[in-house]
Structures are given as structure tokens and as C-alpha cells.
């Protein structure tokens, strides 16, 4: 047995001969790298060897759409029937919020207009006031006011309609699956890998099959949104139900509850705060999906952003992007307020009477009806007059022009030097690595961290990428993602450390991070493109901006989570601030910080595909191209490769953090 450094420090725990394995793997990697000059298949997987998985998938998809049948009806008829059913509530919402409808009365038609903007604005503000007080009312009022004044109202209502349908379906569907998983370990075990894949495969990749099965249009977009927003709800439901104290469950059994009574009267009510987190997630993810969904026909704000981005109309894109954000923020905060409010005790309410108990509902209906009727007298309340809308388009066009004229040299210098000295060399290095060597190195890492099963998993995933002919693209993805993560950590770590040390910075950072996370990912692209044009550098900036949030959050949280007693003990031992940080807080917070790195990687990968719009050349671009060509197999396989990278990173880091936490004697995260 070889003696490693760790063995010397912890002789009681028998260690695997790890150092030797690392050295051997590195030696093999270097040897392969040297040999790669002659044996090109080590670097570039030969075309002839590629497993044509993408064609198999495409063929299967075609069979499904064209030939599959249940006997009485075909598979396609089945999916279209689902789409038709889902279309009904969507149309109802659209009529109510955006379109109105017309009743034919002989020759004339009676036009029933949609709800007045003033009514919706007023009702939302009133509801916010009732639930969350004056501050929330102000926020929501301003948000909806923005939609009106900036001429985003109609698009926003189209988007809101699809959210209003997608969110409840996502919540109910997710909760039902979660309940099934909670009740039956087998079901959970079967669902977990599928959920993992759904959360790591880029959304674009499954837009394509959705497109095939459900056709182009708002309903498909809504289905894609539900599919995207569902997995966290499933997981959170399982977690929330598991988190119900064992004693409460035992009480339910001692009281003689049946299975159904247990679920509806004991489990779900006890887990309601946990479940609200899931509801919140579904809302946020649905809004995150708005732009992407517009690629398969969602319309509304997403469509506006996408169209503006394609025209490079910064002002219009920003306005619509902000409108999505504003919608997200108000729905999110309203949801949180409802969740944290809880029920007002009955002994308080009973004193007030019927109107007080149902005041919110009565108020909302009253405002909606009042404004609706008023709008017949004052047409400006029906359609906000165009003359009064604010348009920032010309301003931003001027700004971009000014930036390009005056700052171009500086920006370009920064961009070029970073590209030449950092980005491109790193990219060359990664692309030049032989795949067997990388797979081996990953396997060794997996073996050292989590044992043979993890080793087998990561190696298999790496080989999958190579075998399906995506190795080079995957390495470009790894490069772009890796460098973005490094930059994000360079920003996130110090900010997180500062935030952990000061209540004021903590609050500021918290708010900034919250806002960053509510922005739809596409919005990041707009200013970046404005300043740096298209290319890897712009993609990197956008990815960093999107992915920096967890880096800050987890660092802050990790350092704050170090037990106060340990910090006090260190200070009594005479640690200076620096020593305290480096010798106590950071080592103890490291597992948490690494989970932050993990989250950062996940977000970077999900942004990778979106940044394909600004001209990258990685897996994201492959997925995007596949979408534009409606090539199911191509898109799914490239998407699966992204998922492979994500799963490798996630499992390695997750296993490391779990082991480290155990070594430090900290309780495991749920």
C-alpha cells in the first residue's frame, strides 16, 4: 500500500491508494496527448465510428407521428386531442384578459371587450395590499403600471394567460407525481433519473418532440412550459412530505386515519409551507420559459423579445424583457406573501364578520367589475391610448450608437486581449485533450470520491459523448462553461464573503441576486450584444451574469452557517479576521460553497444553449440548429450530451460535498 498524505493525517481510516491512481491517470493522459499527433482518433472521434443514435431517435419520432396507432385512433390524434383540451382554458383566459369575444347577432355583432387594464391593475394592487401590506401593493402597482405605460399590456396579458393555465397544471401534476413518489419508493427510484435528465437536458432539445407531437402554437408552448416547470415541483413535494415530522404521521395513524384522510387531512396541510416553495418555483420557471416557448409559437412578451433580439432592436427587446421580469417579480412576491402570511386566527376574524373574512375576494371582483363598466364610458380605460405610451427604442438606439463610437476601442481591447490570452488558449488545450485520457481521469476522480459506481457512471457518460460524435463540441462547451464558472466564482466568492460579514452588504447582495434570478435568461443577452457584439466573449459575459447568483448565495449562506460557537472559540484562541476566515470559516463552509459551484455550473450549462443565439460553436449551437431544422434526433442527442456534462459535474461535486460534510460531522442536506 502506498502512503498518501491523507493516510498520514488520518491513520485510523483505511484509504484507497488514491495518489497512485491520480498519478497513473495523469501519466496516461499525458502519454495519450503525446500520442495524439499520430493517432488522431484519440482526439477526434472518427465519423465512421459514430453510433447513429440521432438517426434512430429521429426515425422513432417519425414512426410515432406517422404510423403509431392505438387501434381506434392514431398516436398523433391522441396528442392532438390533448392539445385541444388544453386549449380550452387557455382560450378562456385569453378572452378574459386580452381579446374579448364577439357574439354574432344577425347581421351585427356584439363585441364583448376584455377586462379593462385599470381593473386588472387595480385588482392586483388591492390583492397585494390585503396580503402583503403597503409595500407590496406599491411594488405590484408599479410593476403593472410599467406594463401599461410602456405599451406592453396586451402582450403581457397573452403571456399571463398561458402562465395562468400552465402554473396550476404544473403544480397539480407535479404534486400528484410527488405524492406517488412519496408513497412508493419504487416510483421515486424510477422517477429520479428522469427528473435529473429533464432538469439537465436543455429546454431547446425537448421543444422539438413537443413540436412534432402537439404542433406549432401556444398550446405546444404551454405544454413545453409545463414539462419544464414540473420537475422541481415533484422533488419539492416529495421533500416537503418527507419533512413532515414522523410524530405527526404517527399521530395520524394513531387517530385511525385512512390512507386518503392521512394525505388530505394530515400530510398535505402539514407540508403546505414546503409545498409553497414548489409553487413559487413553478411560477418562476414558467416565466423563465416564456421566451423559449415563443420559439414554438407562444406569442406574447416572449415573442416580442425574440423578434427584437433578431432585429438587434435593443430598446424594444429590453422593454419586453423587463416586462417579463416585472411580471415575474410581482407574481413571485405575491406568491411569497401568500405563503408566509398563513391564516389569520379565527378568533381574530370571527370578530369582524362576513365582509372582512371575504374582503379580498369581494374587493377584487368589485374593482374588476367597476373598471369594466367604467370602460364603456371612457374608452381610454379599455385600450391605453398609444399617444401616452413611453417608447425607449430611440434612446437605446442612440446609446448603442454612442457606445460603439466612443467606447468601441476600449471594449474591443479588453475583449481581444482576454480572447487571445485566456479564452482561446484554454479552448485549444481542452479540445486537444484525448478523450480516453479524460474519461480515465474522470473515472479516477469518481472512484476516489464516491467509489466504483460513481466511477463507472462518469466514465460511461464521457464515453457516451464521444461515441455519439459530440466530443469536440462537448469540449468547447466545457471550455465556455468552465471559464464562465471560474469568472463567476471569482466574483461570487469575495462578494459572498463580504455579505457574510456585514448585514448591510448581505441585504444588498440578497436583493441583487434575487433580481438577477428573476430575470429571464434571454434578457442578459441584450446588453451584452449591445456592448460586445456576438461571439464567445459575449456568451461568456452573459453566462457569468446569469450564473453568478448561486456563487454569491451559497458562499454567503455557507459562511453564515458556520456555528457561532466555533467562531467564538476561534476568536478566543486569538484568530485575526484573516485567520478566522481562512483557517475556520472557509474550510467549514467549503462543502456548501462547492454546492454553490455545482449550482453555478448547472446554470451556466442551461445558459449555454441560450447563448447559442449570440454565435457560439458548442453543443448549445447544435441544439439550436436542430431546433431550427426540427431535427429531433440531432437535438436530443446534443441535449443529452449537455446533460452528460451536467450530471458528471453534479455527481462528482455532490459526492465530494456529502463526504466532506460527513467528515466534518455536519448534518446532511435534505
Amino acid at each position: 500500500m502506498t502512503v498518501t498524505g491523507e493516510m498520514a493525517t488520518a491513520p485510523a481510516v483505511p484509504r484507497r491508494p488514491g495518489l497512485l491512481a491520480w498519478v497513473a491517470a495523469l501519466a496516461v493522459l499525458v502519454a495519450l496527448w503525446l500520442a495524439a499527433g499520430r493517432l488522431t482518433w484519440l482526439v477526434a472521434w472518427p465519423d465512421g465510428w459514430i453510433v447513429p443514435l440521432r438517426y434512430w431517435i429521429s426515425d422513432a419520432m417519425h414512426w410515432l407521428v406517422r404510423d403509431a396507432t392505438f387501434g381506434l385512433f392514431t398516436f398523433k390524434e391522441f396528442t392532438r386531442a390533448i392539445a385541444w383540451v388544453l386549449n380550452l382554458p387557455l382560450q378562456a383566459c385569453l378572452v378574459l384578459l386580452s381579446r374579448g369575444f364577439e357574439v354574432p347577432l344577425g347581421a351585427a355583432t356584439l363585441a364583448v371587450p376584455p377586462l379593462s387594464w385599470l381593473g386588472v391593475l387595480g385588482a392586483m394592487t388591492f390583492a397585494s395590499w390585503r396580503v402583503g401590506g403597503r409595500r407590496l401593493a406599491l411594488l405590484v402597482g408599479l410593476c403593472f403600471g410599467y406594463l401599461v405605460v410602456f405599451g406592453q399590456w396586451n402582450s403581457a396579458m397573452v403571456t399571463l394567460s398561458s402562465i395562468l393555465v400552465a402554473v396550476p397544471l404544473g403544480i397539480v401534476g407535479g404534486a400528484l407525481l410527488g405524492i406517488a413518489g412519496y408513497r412508493n419508493r419504487e416510483v421515486e427510484r424510477a422517477m429520479t433519473p428522469i427528473l435529473d435528465l429533464m432538469q439537465t437536458v436543455p429546454v431547446f432539445a425537448y421543444l422539438i418532440p413537443v413540436l412534432f407531437l402537439f404542433g406549432f402554437g401556444p398550446v405546444s408552448a404551454m405544454i413545453a412550459t409545463i414539462v419544464y416547470a414540473l420537475p422541481p415541483m415533484v422533488r419539492i413535494t416529495i421533500l416537503a412530505l418527507r419533512a413532515v415530522p414522523a410524530e405527526v404521521v404517527e399521530f395520524g395513524r394513531m387517530a385511525g386515519c385512512t390512507e386518503r384522510q392521512m394525505l388530505w387531512k394530515v400530510l398535505l396541510p402539514s407540508a403546505r409551507y414546503g409545498l409553497m416553495v414548489g409553487v413559487n418555483q413553478v411560477i418562476m420557471l414558467s416565466l423563465n420559459m416564456v421566451i423559449i416557448a415563443s420559439m414554438i409559437g407562444a406569442g406574447g412578451l416572449g415573442h416580442d423579445v425574440l423578434a427584437a433580439l433578431r432585429r438587434l432592436a435593443i430598446g424594444a427587446g429590453l422593454e419586453a424583457g423587463v416586462a417579463i421580469t416585472v411580471l415575474a417579480i410581482s407574481l413571485d412576491r405575491l406568491g411569497q406573501a401568500i405563503a408566509s402570511r398563513g391564516a389569520t386566527p379565527v378568533h381574530v376574524l370571527r370578530a369582524r364578520g362576513f365582509v372582512a373574512r371575504h374582503g379580498t375576494l369581494i374587493g377584487i371582483l368589485g374593482i374588476l367589475a367597476g373598471a369594466y363598466l367604467l370602460a364603456f364610458l371612457v374608452p381610454a380605460l379599455r385600450h391605453y391610448p398609444d399617444a401616452l405610451t413611453v417608447n425607449t427604442g430611440p434612446f437605446f438606439d442612440k446609446l448603442v450608437e454612442w457606445v460603439n463610437v466612443h467606447l468601441f476601442t476600449y471594449l474591443d481591447a479588453v475583449k481581444s486581449s482576454l480572447l487571445i490570452y485566456v479564452l482561446i488558449p484554454f479552448k485549444r488545450f481542452l479540445v486537444g485533450l484525448p478523450w480516453p485520457g479524460v474519461a480515465l481521469l474522470l473515472a479516477v476522480a469518481g472512484w476516489r470520491i464516491g467509489g466504483p459506481r460513481l466511477a463507472a457512471l462518469v466514465a460511461a457518460l464521457a464515453v457516451f459523448v464521444a461515441v455519439t460524435g459530440n466530443w469536440e463540441k462537448a469540449m468547447i462547451s466545457a471550455y465556455l462553461c468552465g471559464i464562465s464558472v471560474v469568472v463567476a466564482m471569482l466574483i461570487g466568492l469575495p462578494v459572498g464573503i463580504l455579505a457574510a460579514g456585514s448585514e448591510r452588504i448581505h441585504r444588498i447582495a440578497q436583493n441583487t441576486v434575487d433580481t438577477l434570478q428573476t430575470l429571464p435568461s434571454f434578457v442578459y443577452l441584450i446588453p451584452v450584444v449591445m456592448l460586445f457584439q456576438v461571439g464567445d466573449f459575449s456568451a461568456m459575459i452573459a453566462i457569468v451574469a446569469y450564473a453568478v447568483a448561486p456563487a454569491v448565495r451559497y458562499t454567503d449562506h455557507g459562511i453564515r452557517g458556520v456555528p457561532g460557537e466555533i467562531v467564538e472559540a476561534a476568536r478566543m484562541a486569538g484568530c485575526r479576521r484573516g485567520q478566522l476566515l481562512w483557517k475556520v470559516q472557509i474550510p467549514l463552509a467549503l462543502p456548501e460553497i462547492m454546492l454553490g459551484v455545482n449550482q453555478t455550473i448547472m446554470m451556466a450549462l442551461s445558459m449555454l444553449v441560450i447563448s447559442a443565439l449570440v454565435g457560439t460553436r458548442d453543443l448549445g449551437q447544435e441544439v439550436y440548429i436542430a431546433l431550427t431544422r426540427a431535427d429531433t434526433g440531432h437535438g436530443l442527442v446534443a441535449g443529452l450530451c449537455v446533460a452528460c456534462i451536467a450530471i458528471v459535474a453534479d455527481r462528482l461535486i455532490g459526492a465530494w460535498a456529502a463526504r466532506r460534510r460527513e467528515e466534518l460531522g455536519m448534518e446532511q442536506r435534505a
Binding site: P245, A255, G256, Q261, K265, P269, S270, A343
Partner: protein
């Protein structure tokens, strides 16, 4: 050694009197095992139903309850006491089959509980069992009234009937006026009162309390113990009470079972445990107990020989004229030493001890009382061989 023999062997003759005159047995369990881990039942069979600790460890299994046996009598407070990890919580859950025992026998009111179907078990739990939990286990979305009425609600009792009953129990536990509060608005002690009220709402035949006061502050705990004793005086329930606090056990119990590593080490009345601990482990617990509060006059006195009994039974032995000489008076055999110590020590003379029927059964010397109050310091009593019974 298997616990039934332990129970029999360590129950001193005094225990024959039985707790508070109860007759029937409510719940019996024999040879109960709970083994956590894969294939526990087969493992148990393979090892002839009695694997040793080493065998369990080698099999990677945990023997949470090992060969436990006891009888719980009608109307008694039976306390199961053990430190954390001793298996007491698992054991009490086995008694209600919240946790399925691996092996053993469980008889409740004459029927085999382990043979009951899930449906029968639900019925038994609905109508015959109540349980109070350490962390209250209240439903956060229901008011006090809703929580207390909940067990009736799941039985399908109508709203008016169940709320009327709930209001009764709420008043019983002293929470009248708080019916429409939510659990989060109540203090810990109040929350546990809700838990108690809720478990009593169905008028259970057997009442399980799993460390009900352990999560409370010491002062509140004391108050709740008094409350518990008050309730029990009114209700006369059959109670299985779990605790890790020996003082609490002594205070509340008619009988105590001490558990260690999944086994029942000893079963007996509080004073039996103090006077004749079965093992060193039990002795450790009893050492710091205030003996004067636990020991009865009967367990300390020197017994009068059976034949000598009637003769020495001076009906009015107030003065010094009675047989046995210079007796200072009479003491009831069931009284605690703490209650009579002052009188005995003041008198500086022995007292006659009489049982419930008024027969003289022994005599109590001041030296014996002193030995209880300050062990080891008192000079041996005059009645040589009848000295101090307390085992040291």
C-alpha cells in the same frame, strides 16, 4: 436472561399487593422483538429466536427491542424508563403496532393484536388507544378545537357532536377560552395540553404517552406532571408512560420498567427498584434518588414474626404499656418515610406499623428512618437482624 423471569424474580413479596388494587390485565406482551435491518425476521429464526448482541452486530442489524415482556394492569400508570437509544420509544410504538414487531406476542384486552388486520387495527386505534407525543405533533393548520376534534373527525363523527366533546376535554385540561387559537400561538406547555386533550377525546382504553414532558422547561414540566396526576386521579386510565427521567418515573409511576439496550432490565414499583435493584445499572439510577420520598414504611420496618403478630397488637398502644414496650405510636405501612420521618425522629422511640386492616405488621425504629435519610451515618438499630433492608 429472558425478561419474564427477571420480572418475576425481582418482584419482591411486597409487590403482591398489586398497584392500587387493580385486578385485570389490559395489555400483555411476551418475547417481543424488533430488529431493524434487512431480513430481521429470518435472522431471528436462524438464531433460534434469541440472537446475542454480537450476532446482531455481525449481521449488520439493530436489535431495538429484545425479548421484552410485560403486563400492564387496568388503571395503573406503567412507566417505561430508559436513556436515549435504549429502545423505549420503539417499544411503545410496537405496543400500538405503529412499528411492526419482528416477533413476539401482543395481547390487548384478550385479543391478539399482532393478528389484527390493518382495518381492525385502525378501528382499535380509533376507539381504544390514545397517544401523546414528545413534540406534540399538533396539526399546524387546525385550531385547538380542530386539533382536539380531529380523531373524532376521521371517525366520521358529526361536527356538532365532535366539537361538543372536544370542548369538554379542552376544559378538562384547562384550556377553556383558547379553542380558536392556532398551535403556533400557544406556549409549549399549552401545546402539550392540546396534545393531551386530543388523545383523550376518544376516551381511550389505553393511553400511551411518549416522553410527553421532555420538550418542556423544568418548571413547566413539574406543573404538567402535577396536571397529569390530577387528570389520572379523575380518569383512572391505563397508562403507558415513556420517559428518560428517573425522577419523573418515580413521581408518576405505579410500576416502572427499566430498559437498556433494547432489553427490560427490571420491572417493579419505585421502591422495589430503590430497595433491591436487579443490576448495577439500575442501582446507578436509584443512587441519587431521594429515598425518603420513595420508600414506604413497610419496606424499611423490621417485620413482626407472623406468630407474634396478634399478641403484640395492642389496640391502643399510644403510651408505653403495650407489648414490645415504649412504642411511640402507630404508623400506616403504606406511608412514605418522608411523611413520617419528623414524627419518628422527634419521638426518639420506635413506632408500631399497621396495615390497611389495622393489623400490626412491624415496628419502625428511629435509626431505620435516619438510615434512609442519611445512609451509612446512623448507628445500627437496636433490633440487630431486622436492621436496614435497603441494599447498598
Amino acid at each position: 436472561m429472558p425478561s419474564p423471569t427477571v420480572a418475576a424474580a425481582t418482584r419482591p413479596p411486597q409487590a403482591e399487593a398489586g398497584p392500587s388494587g387493580a385486578a385485570g390485565v389490559k395489555l400483555t406482551c411476551r418475547g417481543l422483538w424488533k430488529i431493524f435491518g434487512e431480513g430481521g425476521r429470518r435472522f431471528l429464526e436462524r438464531h433460534g429466536g434469541a440472537p446475542t448482541s454480537e450476532q446482531l452486530a455481525a449481521g449488520g442489524l439493530i436489535g431495538a427491542v429484545r425479548d421484552a415482556g410485560l403486563e400492564i394492569h387496568d388503571g395503573e400508570v406503567f412507566v417505561i424508563m430508559g436513556l436515549s437509544g435504549s429502545g423505549k420509544s420503539t417499544f411503545v410504538r410496537c405496543l400500538s403496532r405503529l412499528i411492526e414487531p419482528t416477533a413476539g406476542e401482543l395481547i390487548f384486552e384478550g385479543r391478539d393484536l399482532l393478528a389484527a388486520s390493518e382495518r381492525e387495527l385502525t378501528e382499535i386505534r380509533r376507539h381504544k388507544m390514545g397517544m401523546v407525543f414528545q413534540h406534540f405533533a399538533l396539526l399546524p393548520h387546525l385550531t385547538v378545537l380542530g386539533n382536539v376534534a380531529f380523531p373524532l373527525e376521521v371517525q366520521g363523527v358529526g361536527r356538532a357532536a365532535r366539537e361538543a366533546r372536544a370542548l369538554e376535554v379542552i376544559e378538562l385540561v384547562g384550556l377553556k377560552g383558547r379553542e380558536s387559537y392556532f398551535p403556533r400561538e400557544l406556549s409549549g406547555g399549552q401545546q402539550q395540553r392540546v396534545g393531551i386533550a386530543r388523545s383523550l377525546a376518544v376516551e381511550p382504553e389505553i393511553w400511551f404517552l411518549d416522553e410527553p414532558f421532555s420538550a418542556l422547561d423544568p418548571l413547566i414540566r413539574r406543573e404538567m406532571q402535577d396536571e397529569f396526576l390530577r387528570l389520572q386521579r379523575v380518569l383512572r386510565k391505563t397508562i403507558v408512560f415513556i420517559t428518560h427521567d428517573f425522577d419523573e418515573a418515580i413521581r408518576l409511576a405505579d410500576r416502572i420498567a427499566i430498559m437498556k439496550d433494547g432489553r427490560i432490565v427490571q420491572i417493579g414499583r419505585p421502591e422495589d427498584l430503590v430497595t433491591s435493584p436487579a443490576t448495577q445499572y439500575v442501582a446507578e439510577f436509584t443512587r441519587d434518588v431521594s429515598r425518603a420520598k420513595v420508600l414506604s414504611v413497610r419496606s424499611v420496618m423490621s417485620a413482626v414474626p407472623e406468630s407474634a403478630g396478634p399478641e403484640s397488637a395492642g389496640p391502643e398502644s399510644d403510651g408505653s404499656g403495650a407489648a414490645g414496650g415504649e412504642l411511640a405510636g402507630e404508623l400506616p405501612a403504606a406511608a412514605r418515610i418522608g411523611e413520617v420521618a419528623r414524627r419518628v425522629l422527634r419521638a426518639e422511640r420506635p413506632f408500631a406499623v399497621v396495615d390497611e386492616a389495622g393489623r400490626v405488621v412491624g415496628r419502625l425504629e428511629p435509626g431505620q428512618v435516619l438510615e434512609v435519610l442519611a445512609p451509612g451515618e446512623a448507628a445500627p438499630g437496636p433490633g440487630g437482624e431486622g436492621g436496614v433492608k435497603a441494599a447498598q
